[in-house]
């Protein structure tokens, strides 16, 4: 694709994003359809988002979304009136930093994972094949989302019991051996499922993938595709997973996501990437940007390091300008994803000392 063509696609994507922003702001700030939280917020803000937000850049007027707003209840304040009477799900984030953040959802997890499904190659994630969900259970979006992904592709999702908050507690108490035993308990559940069923696809986290591959050869067990996420993945892990854990016959799909955003998918790697993991958000439903940590409204240049900033724009959820606990490099748009991406996401270095990460 020529630069001119890509530029045109970037402009087109941007125009669609601006349209989408107006639609979403109208939904969340219309008294007929918006949720109590945002309607109250607008009542006290002294300005009308529906009148003043004309495009994506105008979302800067909201300032940075404070994650404490999502901690605790009542969660019904986040349910849009436009979805009155619909079944509501509530999902929680990891809880590695105190009281977890909650996000109510009506349709998002299905839509996000159906979009993600379109990025998976059918040869490695065959339609109709069954899945193993070797990841966090409980109040996690992942648990239901992977099950929906499997069902959407015509399969069944087998699950394990895994409480990552217990693991975090064990690690904070220095009980590493207990945490290791708990990990083996999860692996044992996975092995039981894999031995009894014909599983071809999996979701798992980096650490659990390593632990599982210490026990068995996944290719020999018939696994063809691994969708991996949940915690940080380094380029070295990426290489290690592809070269040593999985081998040439299993497709590795690293993802970056969380309860608030949805799922950012990995751009197909090239040798020039040197195993860097490059993600693109599911625009226009979510936008990931890389900003100057000291001036969060200022984007860094392409290739430069900054803090990840998320904007979620769905009818279920409106989260403008949320500063993630991660840092990364800003990646230019590409043919497949004509909008900004992020490279090598890792814990924000200024927070690293206070957060227990990557435990499940």
């Amino acid at each position: 694709m020529s630069t001119t063509d890509l530029d045109a696609r970037v402009r087109d994507a941007r125009a669609k994003l601006d349209d989408h922003v107006r639609e979403i702001v109208e939904w969340h700030f219309n008294p007929e359809t918006g949720c109590p939280f945002w309607l109250n917020w607008a009542a006290n803000a002294g300005w009308d988002p529906r009148k003043e937000v004309k495009n994506y850049d105008d979302l800067d007027k909201f300032g940075n979304f404070e994650d404490d707003w999502l901690r605790g209840g009542p969660v019904r304040r986040w349910v849009p009136k436009g979805f009155a009477g619909k079944p509501v799900y509530v999902f929680e984030t990891g809880g590695s930093t105190g009281v977890p953040k909650s996000r109510v959802q009506i349709n998002d997890f299905r839509i996000d994972y159906e979009m993600f499904s379109d990025t998976l190659p059918d040869a490695s994630f065959p339609k109709g094949s069954d899945w193993l969900m070797l990841g966090p259970s409980g109040p996690r979006r992942l648990r239901l989302a992977v099950e929906h992904l499997a069902q959407h592709r015509g399969g069944i999702s087998f699950c394990v019991d895994l409480d990552p908050r217990w693991v975090i507690k064990l690690i904070k108490r220095g009980e590493i051996r207990e945490a290791e035993i708990y990990k083996q308990h999860c692996i044992d559940q996975a092995l039981t499922i894999l031995r009894a069923n014909e599983i071809k696809c999996m979701f798992t986290t980096p650490k659990l993938l390593e632990a599982l591959c210490e026990k068995i050869n996944l290719a020999k067990y018939g696994i063809k595709g691994i969708f991996c996420g949940g915690t940080e993945m380094t380029p070295q892990f990426h290489r290690f997973a592809v070269e040593e854990l999985l081998g040439p016959d299993i497709y590795f799909a690293p993802t970056y996501g969380n309860t608030l955003m949805g799922l950012a998918t990995h751009r197909a790697p090239t040798p020039e990437d040197n195993w860097a993991i490059i993600y693109y958000p599911p625009a226009p439903r979510a936008i990931l940007e890389v900003v100057n940590p000291d001036k969060p409204n200022e984007l860094v240049g392409y290739g430069k390091t900054g803090r990840a900033r998320l904007t979620t724009l769905t009818k279920d959820t409106f989260i403008p300008r949320f500063l993630e606990r991660d840092e990364c490099e800003r990646e230019a748009p590409c043919e497949q994803y004509p909008w900004d991406g992020v490279r090598n996401v890792r814990p924000f270095s200024r927070f690293q000392k206070s957060v227990v990460e990557g435990v499940y």
Binding site: I176, E210, E214, T234, Q236, A241, E244, W275
Partner: protein
Amino acid sequence: MIHIPVLRQGKPYKSVDVNKAYHYRTREQIAEISQANVGLIRRDLLQQAEMHAILQGFTTRELIAIAKKAAKHFGEDELPLGDSMQTPDDIVKQISATTGSPNVMVRRNMEKVRGVLDRGYGDIAGRALSFFPRGHSMGVILPSNSPGVHSLWAPAIALKTPLILKPGSSEPWTPYRIVQAYIKAGIPREVFGYYSADHAGGGEILRQCGRGMLFGDVGAAKAWAGDPRIEIHGPGYSKIVLADEGAKNWEKYLDLMADSIAQNSGRSCVNCSSIWTTANAREIAEALAERFAKIGPRAEEDPEAAVAPFAAPDVARRISLMIDQEMEGTADLVEAKRGTPRVAEKDGCTYLLPAVVQCSKEHALANREFLFPYASVVQVDASEIPHCLGPTLVCTAITSDKALQRRLLESNHIGRLNFGPISTMKISWDQPHEGNLFDHLYSRRAFQSVLETVA
């Protein structure tokens, strides 16, 4: 650019993830060091039993002979360093460049390593003894600040134990060279693992290896304190005790005290960090201060260099600030005599010059240990010793008081006890902690044998 790879069962592996090592003064990049991810370490350590079996194919006599050859290679030969080669002169310069240690200290430490490789270990008397290895390998988490400690783990190969090493971030050089010297001398490369890694990688090595050795600060030492598999080399709080005639004749032991405090730039756990005396505390402190006031920053190649600069200048400033904040009621006598601040800058380097305080046993600075030549001088009644000393890795006691000697012998807080004028820095390889690796790696079982052919 020098690249130091990971060694996976002796085979070099270049990681995508590399750390950069810089010259402590010029900030010029000296090398890049491949970093191992935790999963890779775990995966490799699944092969420990196979690694262990390789060394069982050698007799101890053969291994000692190989160790002697390795000592020669280590001290004299050009050895592989990643894709390049390294001479003995190269390594001295490289260690000095990334740690700030003066060349003279590096050479002294290299000789120490060479000496221990050369000597191997003593044999066992001809009694019916049987020993079994406590693990298939030994994992060692190494420090950045003192190349001398490498002599403590290097003999493990002669004890038929594979080595899994995590080098310190500023001193990757010596362990890599020891491995290469062993390989050149005839040890199969498969029995070595060399994994530069983060803290999580270090933790994984200690968890997965049957036996371990850890060099670390208070926090690291505390995290592994309850694990009998791990020999911990944390802060030593080593001390010199002077009582009765020893305290009276203190001048006779001034050289011993100064050497114990300041050798190796005060960076070893066996450096003396406090003098406990029953008399003449002020005189002792003043005399030490007088001597230390003459020590100043010198170039790394200066054979008279006595203090090493800090690779991270902020660390020096933070240590000095911590001392000043706790100085209430006493003073740094060296600083007063020197007339210049404790933190010194020279040619772009930051140094901490020696400090001596005289204080009561309750003072916050009475029983502390810092990463430079520091000592408190504390006067106590003989009856308070050893209770007042607290945990002490090395205690040199100069006293003829038999009752005090007996109390010191009975103390369970003292790791190594020297009676008489022996420097706290003096290591006996056949004694526990510093040298008796055999005790750490092997355990004795009850054993009897009547060798008959079973029909």
